[in-house]
Amino acid sequence: MDERRVLTTCIWCGTGCSFYLRVRDGRMIGIVPSLSHRISRGMLCAKGWKSYEFAGHHERLKKPLIREGNDFREASWDEALDLVSGRLLEIKRRYGPESIQVLGSAKCPNEDNYILQRWARACIGTDNIDHCARLCHASTVAGLARAFGSGAMTQSISEIENADLIFITGSNTAEQHPVIAAHMMRAINRGARLLVIDPRKTPMARIADIYLSQRPGTDIAWINAFINVIVNEGLHDKRFIEEHTEGFSEMWEKAKNYTPEVAERITGIPADRLASAARLYARSERPMIFYSMGITQHITGTENVMSLANLVMVAGKIGRPSTGLCPLRGQNNVQGSCDAGVLPGTLPGYQPNSDEEILRKFEALWGTRPPSWKGITSTQGPDAILEGKIKALYSMGENIFSSHPDMNHMGEALRRLELLVVQDIFLTETARFAHVVFPATAWPEKEGTFTCTDRAVQLIRKAVDPPGEAMDDWRIIQELSNRMGYEMDFEGPEEIFSEMTKAMPIYAGMSYERLEEGGLQWPCPSPDHPGTPYLHKDGVFRRPGGKGKFHPTEHVEPPELPDEEYPFYLSTGRVSFHWHTRSMTGRIGLLEREYPVSLVDINPEDGKRLGIRSGERVRITSRRGSVECVARLTDEVPPGLIFATFHYAEASANLLTMNALDPTALIPALKVSAVRVEKVS
């Protein structure tokens, strides 16, 4: 039969679903879910079912573009590559390698990200390398690494159905990780209880056994109150704490002050309900905690994560199947791009560039010593540009203008750059600022690997040819590197992956040949190792000494609170039918039809008070900007809180958000801003 079906891994969230792309006459015509796959088991979300569509869109970039005045002209690859490599060398010579920033992409495979950071560190000599993990789970990587020694989901997705308590906080799982929600539903159907703590009444909150709505930005208070109840009522796991952890006393010095009554004053959660929820967690045999950006995107993001780690260790709910702490990673390969070292100060495999032995190892592998200084993050980039420290920015597959907080500030910075190069599949909002745009291949046109949220490395397989002259991301980087005098001669992704297994102990036992049979979960240290379904087995943590570390945490008020002028809390996020800045889902007809305009969720009480009805246009204003959206009155948000998305550039919530950063992870506080709402007459 002339229809081919190519097994691959999904491009959207970090769940790691698998399906077959159906290809006929060189064109993708649909999807067949894989019933046998460990994670997706024949299930897909709406985006997954339609994931093939954007790659074939007629607006794909097909030739390199070079800026001429306010417009672009098409150019040959040779001309564009020569121009960029020459300009980068010139900027490096004039201002030093630290004047160049490189951004990777969690949409791209591990191999693309690995070669990008090698190019940045070994060829350019800069550690200013980062990617969108900075906006989602940088605080997870920092917080869990400190507490457990490993900044990743401790469990496997396939363990969820055996849990007896599903505990979700700060995650709209049904809309953002739908297939993980499906595993939760199976657990619930087997009798598991569902506990949700979230300011928004998400779809999972609506069917929860216990739903608690906290005031935004008060997570440390309720988590400490959980610990307070558990310890005061003797429900903590004393043996686990003594044998497998350190720092309990210091942590308790803080947590003992957070009685449920104190927490009620801070969070708004009734003390008795909070205490009941804490008891439910402590008494469950197999409770799994899931969280996402409702926990991480705060100025206390890292401390929020460490507080959850404290809770898990106090109750001894880790190191066994169907327990643990599960950050749900947002992007298909955000875990992998972190693994591959696209983070400042962190070489591939989470090996710090402050360690002399590790620097020597990479020097031997790359023939050049990587920088030992710690670069700046993507969120620090705009200020660094405006201060004149960064002169050139190279972005592989990131749409930072739309995805980062305070778009006006970002736009001002991008205009100031001496060189902006964007490598992408569409002319995104960021690409419109660029001096040179390289057309890259999309995911169905690539070979490589994605690493999903439960640390499983899985193959993606090429199904169709790219349009026009679009080139693989890794090859573009290699071409530039060779022109800049640092030779790389990889033949393809498999060879790059082979080098990754030499550089990264957590991937050491993997190969394409093994992955061909199915995913492998890191750490996988040797070719005969089966991979690691859950971490910290029997309480042996991955920190030096093998003990988990408690960290004392204290509630801190968000940097901006509602006041008379800006009386509403604004929380931002995504909806189920769109992805981030809509550069892909906006080109999928059925998804675009489902969510065709930028909506803002307003509680009906607030709507009534302001004279706003569903479907009417409203203006949202913060201290940084103003947008017009269409109102949707819903009890998904409590009175005093509104929710908006950053999907639509012209009405993006990121025109309103601020670039207040968590001091450790430098993640922006996208979940709390103060705004006012007005009806547009």
């Binding site: 999807i31 067949v32 019933l35 299930m43 049904a174 739908p178 929600a181 539903m185 189920s576 007809g589």
Partner: protein, 320 residues
């Protein structure tokens, strides 16, 4: 029914080769290295046995694809795309899928919505059902009278039996294909059916007179996470929408009725603004019109808990 035949494996091979000689591309289910069943070009190898299961409804896909380009702009005129109506034969089709085909035939080739593209493909589709020996997970095909053997929608149906295979034809072209082979007693086929049915308990009772149940719809609506799987996996769903294809073409694509946009009118008003109302719409279609064959795919693919399995379990009595 046009007679009963007794076949050996060699007889089946020669019948399939005869189809190939007539220009049919013969497809049969193959389990790949990852454990998924997909249709592949038939190769005369070992006789099929046990569990044969396309999770995806490939038979419907052959006549009513998930999406298909309809027209493209040529100068100032729209020209149609070829409907791809090559001759195809499905060997070992599922009885539920054949039953579903009879339903979609009625829809697309009936008086109200005659569809030339569907008709062209259906005319060139030859269906050989293999009666099921093992029930699919979450299926209730016996109750829907679509399994373990098919009553309609096929050219030939084959039953495994101790001595080999029994076959019956439903169409003249099916009868012609198996005419050279030895006759069997119709009682043999009845016995084979009863034998198969013993492994397929009838767990639910389906009635066309569905009682409106607002509470049930509300409950299901809360657990529907709008993935669309129940539609894309359903062998009987016939709804589609038309949208842009490429720069200046038009395509049609199957359209999930549990999506809000399906029910939206020009100007933004919705015929069914709540998910509960959309659940009611779907189940009214599936049971009221008789468009459910009990294949169970929707329950396997549902990421929430709102498909047929949930519907029956929530009903409590497991009756509708």
């Amino acid at each position: 029914m046009r007679g009963a035949k007794k076949l050996s494996w060699q007889d089946i091979v020669s019948a399939l080769k005869a189809l190939e000689n007539e220009g049919y591309e013969v497809l049969s289910p193959k389990k790949n290295r990852w454990g998924d069943w997909l249709p592949e070009r038939w190769i005369p190898d070992e006789a099929p046995e046990g569990f044969l299961n396309y999770y995806f409804p490939f038979l419907k896909e052959a006549v009513f694809p998930t999406e298909e380009p309809l027209f493209f702009l040529h100068g100032d005129r729209f020209l149609p795309y070829d409907p791809d109506s090559r001759k195809r034969a499905f060997f070992c089709a599922r009885p539920c899928d054949a039953t579903a085909l009879a339903y979609t035939d009625h829809f697309f080739m009936g008086r109200f919505f005659p569809d030339s593209r569907y008709r062209a493909r259906r005319r060139n589709l030859f269906v050989i059902v293999m009666a099921c020996q093992v029930p699919c997970p979450k299926s209730f095909c016996t109750a829907a009278k679509a399994g373990p053997w098919a009553r309609k929608g096929f050219d030939i149906q084959i039953y495994p039996c101790r001595e080999g295979w029994l076959a019956e034809a439903l169409t003249s072209r099916g009868a012609e294909l198996i005419s050279p082979y030895a006759d069997a007693d119709r009682d043999d086929i009845s016995r084979a059916r009863r034998e198969l049915e013993r492994g397929f308990p009838e767990e639910v009772h389906i009635s066309r007179h569905q009682v409106k149940d607002a509470e049930l719809n509300e409950w299901l609506g809360l657990r529907c996470f709008r993935c669309g799987a129940c539609v894309w996996l359903c062998p009987t769903c016939t709804c589609y929408n038309q949208s842009q294809f490429g720069k200046d073409g038009v395509k049609r694509e199957q359209d999930p009725c549990l999506f809000e946009g399906y029910h939206r009118l020009a100007g933004g008003a919705s015929l069914r603004p709540t998910q509960a109302e959309r659940m009611d719409f779907r189940y009214e279609c599936k049971f009221g019109v008789g468009a459910c064959v009990g294949c169970g795919r929707c329950s396997v693919g549902c990421i929430g808990y709102a498909a047929m399995e949930a519907y029956f379990e929530r009903k409590g009595s497991r009756t509708t």
